[in-house]
């Protein structure tokens, strides 16, 4: 065997840094008669203790959904409609747009109790009401930021300052990926706009870039530059890759740098991704009843399509899928826009939970629904809008070790402050990492002379949320 090959093999065994997909590397190496790589940044890794959740689907409802219209029923707020908030409540409170001392606005929608758990939900969420016994509604969420970009960045990276790794990046850093030819962390965007925090929402910060989220699209090329250029067919692409491989191999034999072997592998994996990704992204192969369950239409980009894709991707071993749906910033048009948003998302969210459950995936797939903050009980504008509100809001979680059928936490009569079982963003991160098999204080990365973690110096577990 030539020197270069020997080195490559050893390198793979010892410390090869391969981009996407360790299993694929394994396949490749096995095909060539080599042993499987033991250590590459995306190789599946065992967490610190037995995990309840093995993968995550995070439905990020960007903009700040109104907890008061969706989850947190406040009859008292209805009574106080049109009155000023009680004195003292607003001390030290900062609002984004409104003068905090604005009149209270009663909830705009009716609530009822559903399921065996008797969870309260608004009439805007008829589909979610069918799965309330599978989810945990957390009404005691609180955050530190009341502007969109800092709020989203905090929710996704544990810090309001840009430049930290995202939750998805930490997760893939900790667990690696099970996927053979797809990125470990995939991101979709739907709704009116992109998320305020931009790409930093799924960035890898100071972690190696292989852990950052890769944006997929549900129409056109799912990944940038995936398609062969016009005029290039698969035969030409294959011939090109074979020639590339041959030349790269010659170079490897000459100079002995194992990085060349990694490059060869990257090209092979890219080629396989060209074949597998479009197939995976084509939801027309889904049975009609599944499409109907989600409310998805093949070929028409939508949040519902993205939900089906999320399921398909985690089935293929993708570790973390995050769906951004930026539509929830109802400073005005509260009634109309919330109705529209729920029409666009409620059915698919509930279908995702059902679908994962019927496939036996829910038990080790963590589903997260929520935005960066809630909305003020005080009105913005005439009588149809609410401002950003960080003190209390609602998220829901399902699967992956989450205690199903519970409603945790309580806000005060106005939905302004949390009065029971407060869950700060850091606490949520700590708990979710715990479900993924990590002590959040020990999942660290050394940078700039200190060990960084998702929860910075904060975070308490929320045992009540865990099954």
């Amino acid at each position: 065997m030539q020197t270069g090959r020997k080195i490559a093999r050893r390198w793979f065994l010892e410390q090869c840094g391969v981009g996407l997909g360790s299993i694929a590397l394994g396949h490749l190496m096995r095909e060539q008669g080599y042993a499987v790589a033991a250590d590459n940044p995306l190789a599946p890794k065992q967490p610190q203790f037995a995990p309840k959740a093995k993968r995550v689907i995070y439905l990020f409802m960007a903009g700040g959904p109104s907890h008061l219209e969706l989850f947190d029923n406040k009859p008292k707020l209805a009574e106080y409609d049109g009155q000023l908030p009680p004195e003292g409540l607003l001390e030290g409170y900062r609002a984004a747009f409104i003068n905090p001392n604005s009149k209270l606005l009663g909830p705009k929608f009716k609530f009822a109790r559903y399921g065996q758990s008797g969870a309260e939900l608004s009439e805007l969420l008829p589909y979610l009401s069918e799965v309330v016994d599978d989810i945990a509604i957390v009404k005691g969420m609180s955050t530190d930021a009341f502007n969109h970009a800092p709020g989203q960045i905090l929710m996704n990276t544990g810090s309001q300052q840009f430049g930290r790794p995202s939750f998805g990046a930490w997760t893939t850093y900790g667990l690696g990926s099970e996927s053979s030819d797809l990125p470990g962390f995939i991101v979709f965007s739907s709704g009116k706009k992109g998320p305020s925090g931009g790409n930093s929402n799924w960035g890898s910060g100071f972690l190696p870039t292989v852990y950052s989220g890769v944006q997929f699209r549900s129409s056109g090329d799912p990944v940038l530059y995936l398609s062969n250029p016009p005029g290039v067919d698969d035969e030409l692409q294959r011939d090109s890759l074979d020639t590339l491989r041959e030349l790269n191999q010659m170079r490897l034999d000459t100079v002995g740098d194992p990085e060349i072997a990694t490059r060869i592998n990257s090209f092979e994996m890219a080629f396989r991704m060209q074949a597998s990704a479009p197939e995976l992204m084509d939801i027309s192969s889904e049975p009609e009843h599944i499409l109907q369950m989600y409310g998805a239409e093949p070929g028409k980009p939508s949040f519902a399509n993205n939900c089906i894709l999320a399921r398909r991707l985690v089935e293929k071993g993708v570790r973390f899928v995050q769906l951004f749906h930026e539509a929830w910033d109802q400073h005005g048009s509260l009634v109309k826009d919330l109705t529209g948003n729920c029409h666009d998302t409620d059915q698919a969210c509930a279908a995702l939970v059902k679908d994962l459950k019927q496939r036996g995936l829910l038990e080790d797939t963590l589903v997260i629904w929520g935005g960066e903050f809630g909305r003020t009980p005080m009105v913005q504008g005439g009588n149809d809008g609410r401002d950003h509100h960080p003190n209390a809001f609602t998220m829901w979680f399902a699967g992956g070790g989450i205690k199903p059928g519970i409603t945790l936490g309580e806000s005060d009569d106005l939905g302004f402050n949390v009065v029971e079982d407060k869950v700060h963003v850091h606490d949520m991160h700590a708990t979710l990492l715990h479900l993924l098999g990590f002590d959040h204080k020990k999942l660290t990365y050394r940078f700039q002379g200190r060990d960084f973690r998702l929860t910075d110096v904060h975070g308490e577990l929320v045992p009540k949320l865990m099954a």
């Binding site: 050893r10 390198w11 010892e14 840094g17 391969v18 981009g19 609002a95 984004a96 747009f97 003068n99 502007n147 969109h148 970009a149 800092p150 309001q160 300052q161 840009f162 430049g163 990125p183 965007s189 709704g191 706009k193 992109g194 998320p195 305020s196 925090g197 931009g198 790409n199 930093s200 870039t209 944006q215 990944v223 940038l224 530059y225 250029p229 016009p230 005029g231 290039v232 067919d233 692409q237 011939d239 090109s240 590339l244 030349l247 100079v255 002995g256 990085e259 060349i260 490059r263 990257s266 090209f267 994996m269 890219a270 991704m273 060209q274 930026e326 913005q380 401002d387 700039q448 002379g449």
Partner: protein, 1023 residues
């Protein structure tokens, strides 16, 4: 508090024993519970609890032990949990009995026998905090290998490890390596031939000198600095508005090209504006501090995000210049390095007194043009003065009458209502400054109470402010404003609901631009409605499609303006009136996220009861001069007065017209974010937990005790310039080390200290500590010449080693930290792109200028991928093929082909890039538009210029890409692919037209081969 009382309560119940014995009672507690962090191995907070002298001396947070006074002893307060600092130990509280033991020990005088414990009286100073001195060159055995002092250090270490250096790389490899390292561009075939033909000893040093003299050197190394300077062409956050700051980028490139000494390079960037007679270049350099992100989303408090930007500036100075992670001390004393929180805010205070300024800037050509215009205007004015010798008297007479005609204006104490998200800062002079979010289509409604009963006119002054684009007075990216309608409403104070609109019958303004159609490309209207700008009459015509504009073109666009609106009937009520002024602004873009507004930036409203307000209108800047007593006016103010007065003199009509004509030829210029010192000092506070809402005591500017002392210029409080000079003082321990370490990192893949961003106590030990110090001293003693360091490194034997590696060597030196071979790694993202452009001949080597927009998928810049719509007008000419350095950088939507190759997006300072190797990179170089265009261009060039035989052509293309000659096997592989694919194109199996736009199987087939070459590992690798 509760916890505290419990401890005391509990403590009281304990039987108070006899005197505490340190060795028996206290030392075991220290050993058991404290030694892990405050012992021999580490001394967090600079505290060692196993050393008597240090405990009695004190750590970072104050006196550890005050014998006899537990309540004044930080040690006791910390373990008891009653200190303002975190309770100790971190891992869990001590049992109450142990806390009491410690209390009692201190109360009894903290007796600690001298013979007990570690015999150290001071903590060892971390190497990086001691100024570097030049070390002796180590003795080496293989002296023949040594080419310069660097090699002594490298070889000594290799010999110690029992390793021999690798042989010298072959000349072609060296040539390409030096090119990629120094200029970031591969050599051309001609350059390669010339170098290979020169067999003299001096050929290689000559090559290095030639490359260091190339203007592309500044581009390649400027990019490194721009990473540290977190350079980007947009604001970041949600709005991510484009910003014009490329003058800073070009300044960096030019500064490096002229080898501006590194100390001046830093001084200019930290405090160039404060240098005596600061040039435009020096002001532009301060853009370094201003590259922070700006948040203008709707709900923000501008001060909160100014503070965020301040933290970012501190972080950038820490990483880029100091090589220290100072941002830990934003919230608390640094846990590891001896930096206190107070000291952090003392540094902060140096940077805290600047406007968030945006100024107009001009290229050298534009500056020359401006000088010419001003010279010509000056000549015409001199001629006027010459022909009218009594002009001074006439002007004085005019001034007297103008002054007399001025009515008395009373400033309206108006407040803005409504919730547009724009933030209004009320200024001491009665004006209002708009900051934060800039709605593109809105009305500002102001109300004021007025007692006067005969309000006859309202004056609107539009004022400059350093915090507005190019100084304002508007908020458009050019600093212009457009007012669609100006409305005045009044209601009796007693009955505010009885509000009525007042008729304005006449208006005048000091600027009335010609009627023009609003540029839909910049300010799009949703229904494509035509909108007009022009004179002041458009503000009172009842039509929102027309607006008064302040924009009379570059040069005079950013002057203060005023307008007077005369009411049909005197307004006012018995008992006072509530006056409502509506400033309607409908001349921005339609979408609030497209960031294009023409809002008023800073304005002041006044009213008068005088009857003849219409005869008094003077330009705002003339008003400003008139407010200054004649004998106290500066020459510029005199000039301003004359400039205006001459326009009132009928006999000068022709001259005035000529001057007007000259103004219209004024160059457009650009803008730059810069530092600009405020007149009134901002006070800086220590911020509790770094929270700007929790200011604690004020702090004065100053530097940390563990670094060199500050030598401020006498006669004033130390300022930012003193701080800048302190950073590059000869006795600064980290500045020189930090930059030479980063240069080393760039050449060899890893720095001598691996953590380039942090040389502090937590950094891993340097691989070659003496070499680091030697290079640092060498830099400082050679007038801080960076090129000198580059020359030393590239001419060292260490650098010139072959990068080939054997399994044995890979085992002994896997990451090449010993420099047992030459560096070999994938080039940076920008260079990946530049190699393809250069090899294909597409490269447009032009240096500097506004950022360019090469092809990029359009959907990335539109919702729902981008938050707001972004403009990305793809360049079609040769701007498409500029070096990647010039690609427009949106922070929230990084340019994908660069992003795939780990280029940082500018969110924060980056001094060490990661280097990944992924399938997404493969897809990019295989399928991305520009890479494909490069493949096709390389094929076309090969067919045109690469000779006639296939062998010649292949060699030609191969050398363009890889510099070296292909070997026989490589030729075979490529030519057989050529043959296979040509057959397919010829037979119609593949469509050449579809692939290369031309029905040429030859071109198509060669393009497939060129594409393979451009995708080789070697192509994008520095061998």
């Amino acid at each position: 508090m509760i916890r505290f009382s419990l401890v005391l309560l509990f403590a009281c119940c304990l039987p108070l024993s006899a005197a505490v014995d340190f060795v028996r009672d206290v030392k075991p507690i220290f050993d058991r519970s404290c030694a892990g962090c405050h012992g021999e191995k580490q001394q967090l907070g600079q505290l060692r609890l196993d050393a008597r002298a240090i405990v009695l001396e004190g750590g970072v947070s104050g006196k550890t032990v005050t014998p006899g006074e537990p309540e004044k002893s930080e040690l006791y307060l910390r373990v008891a949990g009653t200190s303002e600092h975190p309770r100790m130990p971190m891992g869990g509280e001590l049992p109450a009995a142990e806390i009491e033991t410690i209390r009692q020990w201190i109360a009894e005088g903290a007796v600690w026998p001298e013979s007990v414990g570690a015999k150290v009286s001071a903590l060892e100073t971390h190497w990086a905090f001691i100024p570097p001195t030049r070390p002796e060159l180590p003795v080496v055995k293989n002296t023949a290998w040594v080419k310069n002092p660097i090699d002594h250090f490298i070889l000594a270490r290799l010999e110690k490890e029992g390793l021999a250096p690798a042989p010298q790389a072959d000349r072609t490899t060296l040539l390409r390596r030096a090119h990629l390292d120094i200029t970031g561009l591969p050599p051309t075939i001609e350059e390669a031939d010339a170098f290979l033909a020169d067999k003299s000893d001096g050929a290689y040093p000559k090559l290095i000198n030639k490359l260091l003299a190339s203007p592309h050197y500044g581009e390649r190394w400027g990019r490194h600095w721009l990473d540290a300077a977190r350079y980007a062409d947009s604001d970041g956050f949600e709005k991510d508005k484009p910003r014009n700051v490329w003058f800073y980028r070009d300044w960096v490139v030019r500064a490096l090209n002229r080898d501006l000494s590194y100390d001046e390079f830093i001084i200019d960037q930290i405090a160039g504006d404060l240098l005596p007679n600061a040039t435009q270049e020096q002001r532009v350099a301060t853009g370094f501090l201003r590259n922070s992100m700006i948040n203008e989303e709707g709900g923000i408090d501008p001060e909160q995000f100014r503070m965020e930007a301040m933290f970012d500036r501190m972080d950038a100075v820490g990483k880029a210049v100091l090589g220290l992670t100072i941002q830990c001390a934003q919230c608390h004393n640094h846990k590891f390095d001896p930096l206190t929180q107070e000291e952090y805010y003392r540094i902060f205070a140096f940077l805290n007194n600047s406007h968030e300024a945006n100024v107009a800037v001009y290229t050298a050509d534009e500056q020359a043009k401006r000088a010419e215009i001003f010279r010509e205007i000056g000549a015409i004015e001199d001629d006027m003065k010459h022909r009218a010798p009594d002009w001074r008297e006439r002007m004085a007479a005019w001034e007297a009458s103008a002054r007399k005609a001025q009515p008395e204006w009373t400033v309206l104490k108006a407040e803005v209502g409504g919730i547009s998200g724009e933030k209004y800062l009320y200024q001491a002079d009665g004006s209002i400054l708009a900051q934060g979010y800039a709605p593109t289509n809105h009305t500002v409604e102001l109300t004021a109470e007025v007692d006067a009963k005969d309000i006859r006119a309202i004056r609107l002054e539009l004022l400059n402010d350093p915090n507005l684009p190019q100084g304002g007075p508007g908020r458009s990216f050019l600093g212009a404003a457009a007012l669609s309608e100006f409305e005045v409403w009044a209601a009796p104070k007693a009955d505010p609901e009885k509000k009525e609109k007042l008729d304005i019958y006449w208006a005048a303004a000091d600027v009335n631009p010609a009627q023009a159609e609003l540029d839909q490309a910049v300010f799009p209207h949703k229904q494509n409605k035509q909108r007009i700008t022009g004179g002041i009459e458009f503000a009172i015509d009842g039509c929102e499609e027309t607006a008064w504009s302040t924009d009379i073109g570059p040069g005079r666009r950013n002057q203060p303006r005023n307008a007077i609106f005369r009411l049909e009937k005197p307004a006012g009520f018995d008992g006072g009136a509530i006056l409502t002024i509506k400033l309607v602004m409908r001349h921005g873009g339609w979408n609030s996220d497209d960031n294009q507004n023409q809002n008023l930036g800073r304005w002041r409203l006044s009213y008068t009861s005088a009857e003849k307000a219409d005869e008094t209108l003077l330009p705002e800047r003339v008003h400003e001069v008139l407010a200054v007593p004649a004998d106290q006016r500066s020459p510029e103010q005199q000039e301003t007065l004359f400039d205006y007065w001459r326009t009132t003199v009928p006999q000068w009509e022709e001259q005035n017209a000529r001057i007007e004509q000259l103004w219209r030829s004024h160059p457009a210029g650009s803008s730059q974010l810069v530092m600009m010192e405020r007149d009134k000092m901002r006070s800086t506070h220590r911020l509790d937990r770094g929270d700007f809402l929790k200011p604690k005591e004020t702090v004065d500017p100053g530097v940390p005790k563990f670094l060199n002392a500050l030598h401020a210029e006498s006669g004033h409080e130390p300022d930012r310039l003193d701080f800048a000079r302190w950073l590059v003082a000869r006795d600064h321990p980290t500045t020189a080390r930090t930059i030479v370490n980063r240069i080393w990192q760039s050449y060899f893949g890893t720095g001598l200290v691996e953590t380039a961003e942090d040389l502090g106590t937590q950094s891993p030990a340097p691989s070659h500590p003496e070499l680091l110090d030697w290079l640092a001293v060498e830099l400082m003693e050679n007038d801080w010449s960076l090129k000198h360091i580059h020359r030393l490194i590239t001419t060292s034997a260490a650098y010139q080693q072959s990068s080939h590696v054997t399994p044995e060597l890979l085992e002994k030196d896997p990451k090449n930290r010993l420099i047992s071979r030459g560096p070999r790694f994938r080039v940076e993202g920008e260079i990946v792109r530049d190699i393809a452009l250069s090899a294909s001949g597409l490269l447009n080597p032009e240096i500097g200028g506004p950022p360019v927009h090469p092809p990029s998928p359009e959907f990335l810049y539109q919702p729902p991928v981008s938050y707001g719509p972004k403009q990305w007008h793809t360049d079609t000419g040769d701007e498409r093929y500029r070096r990647a350095l010039y690609t427009f950088r949106f922070r929230s939507v990084p340019y994908p082909a660069l992003d795939a190759f780990d280029t940082p997006n500018g969110d924060s300072a980056c001094v060490r890039r990661v280097r990944s190797n992924t399938p997404l990179q493969a897809l990019t170089t295989l399928n991305e538009t520009v890479f494909l265009e490069a493949a096709e261009a390389l094929a076309a060039k090969t067919l045109a210029e690469g000779g006639t035989s296939e062998d010649q052509r292949l060699t030609y293309a191969f050398r363009r890409v890889l510099t070296r000659l292909p070997n026989a096997k490589e030729k075979d592989a490529l030519l057989s692919m050529l043959e296979r694919q040509r057959k397919r194109f010829e037979s119609g199996g593949l469509d050449a037209k579809e692939f290369v736009g031309k029905a040429s199987p030859e071109l198509a087939a060669w393009t497939t081969v060129a594409r393979v070459m451009l995708n080789l590992d070697e192509t994008i690798t520095k061998e």
